[in-house]
Amino acid sequence: MQDLRGILSLLLIQLLGHSQGAPIAVPTLIGQTHDLLLLLQEKASALLSTYLTAMGLPFSEPGFSLPDMTLIGLPSPSIGYLAWRRLTDGQRLSENYRAYSLQLEYLQLVLDDLQALGLGQSSGKLTEQLTTCRTQIQGLLANLRSLLEALAQPLPAIGEPLDSKAYGTSDFERKLRGYIVCREYVRWIDRTLRDFALLSDSAST
């Protein structure tokens, strides 16, 4: 069942990504992205769970949480309620586009770190989930790009987030970094779901 859903989601992404024919109407695209996000939400929680287990103690400790730790290059979805409400559609989509572009880079870094930690072979399930996750994010980015184009908004500048000096090389720091990336991914999906609920509302009026 999981695999079937996974395959279907990939198919959906392929279709959306390669739709070079007639552009999909904005409300439809918003609706489809919202559905995609619901799927991603489940996967995101599962990914964080698998990651923490694979890293061993202290990450695998039940209830492990370091909510205040952040990565400088990775934007946080945290925003005040009123400020969030007042974002224009363009700003809303831009922030999401930027966030997921960076998530994509960081998830690749996590995959590289897994290799460096020597866990590449033993954590096959985790590697698979991370790879699937990246593919799904690419689909999401494609949708976001289309929506930004439909609104005639420029794509936000991403910059070069991963410069060599920002990255510690100890095993523990690598594991910690991976935890933060996976956790922020979960939080971002929660945020994006609400963003799209808002966009659906405003698209239908």
């Binding site: 205040d68 945290s78 925003i79 005040g80 969030w84 939080r187 971002w188 609400r194 609920a197 808002l198």
Partner: protein
């Protein structure tokens, strides 16, 4: 003649005034306030003593040495104090009548631990924290309230808000699950106690009960009732932050046939199995409804009761 009288009166008044000042300076000079804890002990110290005798007085009556009172020339120690020992203490020279020092002793208790509760009734607009002191202190007590979000700077609440026992934290951050830390400190001359509370906003949401609740019959469906309501007026964003509702209903006087339904719309067509029961047993029937609003899977909820016949 009147002029002379006026001058004489004026001078007498002036003289009295001067005497007043000088006398005042001698007596009113050394007045201090001291605080003591009921049930404990306190030591009062005399100052400015000349070589004469020293006598201690409480509100003009002389204090003598007892089991709970220890007197020395310069110190008065009271043990196991009770409330009746509050008042004006004077150490004075009994012969010359000169008062060396007046000590105003006020008695009470150090503050108990403040009890703090924080709730978000208007999620995601704000969080309101309420506090009160565990016990009555009988002394002037100051409250200091501060909070911080995650590892950001600490913010202070104003003194006026602190005294009212209520503070509203605005500008809640969403999508983060980082905790807020609130610290309430009660201080009085006898001591200081603090309470620190930590919470994640999403876990302390408590919406108000739903409003405009009404029950009406449904045409052509005598066994069903239409129950309608609106989300609470205090909930800022019902379309984006959805509320769920739970309906419970049963015939009055019997909890055996309690029914429960969960709902995310603003109305429900209630299958009145309960009404069927009513028909069998009595001519009129009262049904009690309990309708509450809640969020996620939390058990915190507010409810209102409705009775229909």
């Amino acid at each position: 003649m009147y002029l002379k009288l006026t001058v004489i009166l004026g001078s007498v008044i002036m003289l009295l005034h001067i005497i007043d000042i000088t006398v005042g300076q001698a007596i009113g000079d050394d007045v201090v306030t001291q605080y003591g804890q009921i049930g404990a002990s306190v030591t009062l110290t005399c100052g400015n003593i000349d070589n004469g005798a020293v006598e201690w007085q409480l509100n003009d009556s002389k204090i003598i040495q007892t089991r709970n009172v220890e007197l020395t020339r310069t110190k008065l120690t009271l043990f196991n104090i009770d409330v009746s020992q509050e008042g004006q203490y004077r150490c004075r020279n009994p012969e010359s009548g000169r008062t060396y020092r007046t000590i105003s002793l006020m008695l009470g208790y150090p503050p108990g631990k403040p009890q703090v509760t924080c709730r978000s009734v208007r999620y995601p607009l704000n969080v309101v924290c309420l506090w009160k002191l565990e016990n009555q202190t009988y002394l002037p007590t100051w409250i200091n309230v501060s909070y911080r979000y995650g590892t950001e700077d600490v913010k202070q609440c104003s003194a006026e808000e602190a005294l009212q026992g209520k503070y509203t934290i605005e500008r809640i951050q969403l999508f983060s699950k980082i905790s807020y830390t609130v610290k309430v400190t009660a201080t009085n001359p006898l001591g200081s106690r603090s309470t620190i509370t930590q919470f994640i906003v999403e876990k302390i949401i408590k919406p108000d009960p739903p409003t405009e609740v009404s029950v009406s019959p449904i045409p052509n469906q005598p066994k069903k009732l239409l129950l309608q309501w609106k989300p609470p007026a205090t909930w800022p964003d019902p379309s984006l932050f959805l509320l769920k509702y739970r309906i419970m209903y049963w015939p009055e006087g019997s909890t055996r046939y309690q029914m429960e339904e969960d709902c995310s719309k603003q109305f429900a067509s209630v299958v009145a199995f309960v009404l069927m029961l009513c028909d069998l047993h009595q001519p009129t029937c009262r049904v009690r409804f309990l309708l509450g609003a809640y969020v996620f899977t939390q058990r915190l909820r507010s409810t209102i009761k409705l009775v229909i016949s």
